[in-house]
């Protein structure tokens, strides 16, 4: 997990806002930016993965 020295997960502001809006838990997201920083693309990828998973559960 990419963690800064203050102990926080490294995540871009856009990724943070996107995650909050679409309801993705950042601690489950793997970052692809420099030093594993989480960027929006990673959040969107995590969402589409979890939404296909949840669809499977529902159906």
């Amino acid at each position: 997990m990419p963690v800064s020295n203050s102990g926080r997960i490294k995540v871009s502001p856009l990724a943070k806002k996107t995650a909050a809006k679409i309801g993705v838990d950042l601690s489950t997201v793997k970052g692809s930016g420099p030093n594993g920083r989480i960027v929006q693309k990673d959040v969107l990828a995590a969402e589409s993965k979890s939404s296909t998973e949840s669809k499977v559960v529902k159906e």
Binding site: S4, N5, R8, N35
Partner: protein, 465 residues
């Protein structure tokens, strides 16, 4: 009557007028009280006039050095009256701009001197008499004034403060500057460029004590090359006006006494909060010898009363006053914001410019932080070379994660370049993000990437040691 929150802002400097505009944007019914001039110290006798005069000095210097670039001229002359007129033009235009902005944002402006009469009311002494007004919230932004130490002889008219130095009608032949802080060094730059022989007397071991020590040494030697004599560890004992000159008796670092003589002596040893006559006691506002005590929401001990800018006596800079003004206004209008100085840039308008953000090496050492330094000399930067300038960019990064802790730039455009690194600190960026950002060629900013690379000992444009 309106059901808007009624806000009174006391003082129309960069703290007060910004707070007033922001409070009005957020729906407040805002009155700004100003006793002297809109724009405060900053626009009238501070930042703007200094930089306007310095710009003329720079134009002069470039004309004189034009031959280096193939540009020749005869009889290059400074018309100091015109220089002062141009300064006035700029400050006037900006002050009238502030007036227009306040009007556009529906802030009522009252010209007069405000004093607290209680926790929820002030008296305003105007030309027409005294009026008392009540408000839900007060934002105190009364700023600061030059400190005048009790040194014998200081009452001589040849002892001037920064306001006096910016109003001179001719360039003095010699000037003794007491205090080598930002203001002292900027005025030394100004008048030495215009031909005045300057002597700086500084009590501490170094001028510009808050800046990076290594770069300060470099600017110190650049000033020396211009003929500025700098005496550190030296203490002024007395002034004596002898008609033509003022004699300044100084105890030098070696303990010996020396007398310096100048047309003028500038006293620039600091500024003190301007809160003596505003009735802090009447409102019960806690303060430390005039410095109003606030928390990071800019709240004083009295609910509904905020204080911002120079009058809180912490970081006496215009952009800090404005930032604190935004924070106070937002909190006064029911939002929640806190002031954080971690991205605060400090700028000195020397030639070349000098700017800094975050920790210096000295501070990192004192705090016991493990750090690494990356450096890039601007002598190796194409753009700086084209401009005929040099200098240095220095980045302080944390040892383990290489997050940017501080950055120090001595070089052309430093005051604007520092902003990239302030944003980096705001975002907790490491050197990797700075390196991954493409830096345009040929710019001075390329050297920021090189300094970041140098943290990792992999700079391209200097050998890595």
């Amino acid at each position: 009557m309106s059901d808007k929150i009624k806000v009174v802002v006391i003082g129309g400097g960069p703290g007060g007028y910004v707070a007033a505009i922001r409070a009005s944007q957020l729906g407040g019914d805002v009155t700004l009280v100003e006793k002297e001039y809109l724009g405060g110290t900053c626009l009238n006798v501070g930042c703007i006039p200094t930089k306007a005069l310095l710009h003329s000095a720079e134009i002069y210097e470039e004309a004189v050095e034009g031959a280096k670039y193939g540009i020749f001229a005869n009889d290059i002359k400074i018309d100091f009256t015109k220089v002062q007129e141009r300064k006035k033009l700029v400050t006037k235009q900006l002050v009238s701009g502030v007036k227009g902005l306040l009007a556009a944002n529906k802030v009522k402006v009252v010209f007069g001197e405000a004093t607290f009469t209680g926790k929820d009311s002030i008296a305003i002494k105007t030309e027409k008499g005294t009026e008392t007004i009540k408000a839900d919230k007060f934002i105190v932004a009364t700023g600061s004034i030059p400190a005048k130490p009790p040194i014998p002889g200081i009452e001589s008219t040849k002892c001037i403060d920064s306001t006096g130095a910016l109003e001179l009608q001719e360039v003095p032949k010699t000037m003794i500057i007491v205090g080598g802080g930002v203001i002292g060094v900027e005025i030394a730059t100004l008048y030495s460029t215009l031909g005045c022989k300057i002597t700086i007397i500084e009590m501490l071991d170094e001028i510009l004590p808050m800046m990076d020590g290594e770069l300060t040494k470099s600017i110190r030697s650049k000033l020396a090359k211009k003929g500025v004599e700098i005496n550190t560890g030296a203490k002024v004992m007395s002034f004596k006006d002898n008609g033509d000159n003022v004699d300044v008796t100084v105890q030098m670092s070696d303990g010996k006494t020396k007398v310096f003589s100048g047309d003028k002596a500038l006293i620039s040893i600091g500024r003190r909060t301007n809160t003596q006559t505003i009735g802090l006691d009447k409102a019960g506002i806690v303060n430390d010898r005039g410095r109003i005590t606030v928390n990071n929401k800019m709240e004083t001990n009295v609910p509904g009363i905020y204080a911002i800018g120079d009058c809180v006596g912490q970081i006496m800079l215009a952009h800090i006053a404005s930032t604190q003004g935004e924070v106070a206004a937002e909190n006064a209008l029911g939002h929640c914001n806190v002031f954080d100085s971690k991205t605060n840039p400090s700028c000195v308008y020397t030639k070349p410019e000098f700017a800094s953000v975050g920790l210096t090496e000295e501070e990192a050492k004192i705090k016991g932080i493990d750090y690494i330094v990356g450096k890039f000399p601007l002598a190796a930067n194409g753009r700086a070379m084209i401009m005929g300038e040099d200098g240095m960019i220095k980045i302080i990064a944390g040892k383990e994660y290489k997050e940017i802790l501080g950055a120090h730039i001595l070089g052309p455009r430093a005051t604007d370049l520092i902003q990239e690194l302030a944003l980096a600190i705001q975002m907790e960026a490491t050197i990797d993000e700075v390196i991954a950002t493409i830096h345009a060629h040929p710019t001075v900013a390329e050297a920021i990437k090189e300094a970041a690379l140098s943290v990792d000992k992999r700079a391209i444009h200097i050998p890595n040691k």
